[in-house]
Amino acid sequence: MVVTLGYWGIRALGEPARLILRYVDADWTETTIPPTKEGAGMWFGGLKQSLGLDFPNLPYLIDGEVRLTESTAIYRYLGRKYDLMPGDVIRGDLAEQLVTGLRTYITKIAYSGEFEKSKPRFVTLINTRLAEFTKFLGDGPFLFGDKVTYVDFMAFEFWDQCRRLSPDSFEGMNVVNGYLERVANLPRIKEWIESEDCTRKTYSINSPLCAWPGFPEEVNK
């Protein structure tokens, strides 16, 4: 049974789901909506209301009878389906919400009318989180020890988005940087990051039209 993910052709909230599906080598396909006027016309013009979704939105996931929206609900569903759940459910939920919060900060300032004004506050928040995550990670190797979980793919993606917005914050953050490198070196993730089609090379982080699209860096590898 093929799992279908639907999202805009950007990273934003879709990328953690894509990372999970690649990591577990799932049988999956994507309906990619171009982040353009035409794409928006396609989505809002008919596709959105035609998929049998309870609360139509992007991203969406269709897996047989299951039809989901809300990015975190999708990540949790994939986590349960592919055995990527934290053993400690309580700390799992806590870390998941903190990592979701990282993306919320980015959304707020990228889509607000006051990017430059908001940025210093964002940097302060990120620096606080980096210190907290350093303690939470401990020796790792992953957020919950040896077992890779869906939260690791959320963290991997959203920390990278934060790094693009505030690279200086990550100077000397050895514990977090080491952790991100370990996730980047996971089987199938490593090959993906190095491939020509990797969305880090081809997709903007946010909508191309917002205050901070986060277009792909020049990758010198």
Partner: protein, 215 residues
């Protein structure tokens, strides 16, 4: 059990409401939304509770020390057998309800509140239509009251204070069924009910603090 939050409804009230519904004895470590209270929280308490990610609300239950309002609600949902059977559907509706409250917060914090309010209400009506269809009845997932019903009731009540005319028919009836639950009904009618005294948002919110109506 100890719950810490500001003396307002905001993200803490669903947790308080769930604990009251289950008749749980808890220490309501409320922090006044005053200069003194903020000085106390940021100056003395915040970094000294042993929290991984210090913030409000926090919950301390024996060895368990939590922050993040949704993570706390899920913890209590599991502890008190208030989880939906269909976890995937539960997650989706939990998060759309959360998103509505976040949209209210964004609107309430905005100095441009008057101009943005209409757009918020338009989106809200779409959501309420979908939510009404989703509710199995009597509660979101049928007969079983879940933590998501408590979350939804409280957050919808916040939004209803802003735009009461948007809450009619099925949504209004759903909210009344939750409000009529044992312990919740008594709380809402009691003299101590802080809905009479607490703001919905921070009292200094630039757009809409949500002061309590004189009942």
């Amino acid at each position: 059990m100890e719950l810490g939050y500001w003396a307002l409804r905001g993200r803490g009230e669903p947790i308080r409401l769930l604990l009251r519904y289950k008749g749980v004895e808890f220490k309501d470590a409320t922090i006044p939304v005053t200069e003194e209270g903020m000085g106390m929280w940021f100056g003395e308490i915040k970094e000294n509770l042993g929290l991984d990610f210090p913030n409000l609300p926090y919950l301390i239950d024996g060895d368990v020390k939590m922050t993040e309002s949704l993570a706390i609600m899920r913890y209590l949902g599991r502890k008190f057998d208030m989880m939906p059977d269909d976890l995937a559907k539960g997650d989706t509706v939990e998060l759309v309800v959360q998103a509505q409250r976040t949209d209210l917060a964004t609107l309430s914090d905005s100095a441009d509140f008057e101009n943005l309010k209409e757009g918020f209400i338009t989106k809200l009506k779409v959501f309420l239509g979908r939510f009404s269809k989703f509710v199995v009845k009597p509660f979101i997932f049928g007969d079983k009251v879940t933590y998501i019903d408590i979350l939804a009731y409280e957050y919808l009540d916040h939004i209803r204070a802003l735009t009461p005319e948007s809450f009619t028919g099925e949504v209004s009836e759903y909210m009344q069924r939750v409000a009529d639950l044992p312990n919740i009904a008594e709380w809402l009618k009691s003299d101590e009910c802080t809905n009479k005294t607490y703001t919905i948002n921070a009292p200094f919110a630039a757009g809409w603090p949500g002061f309590p109506n004189k009942a």
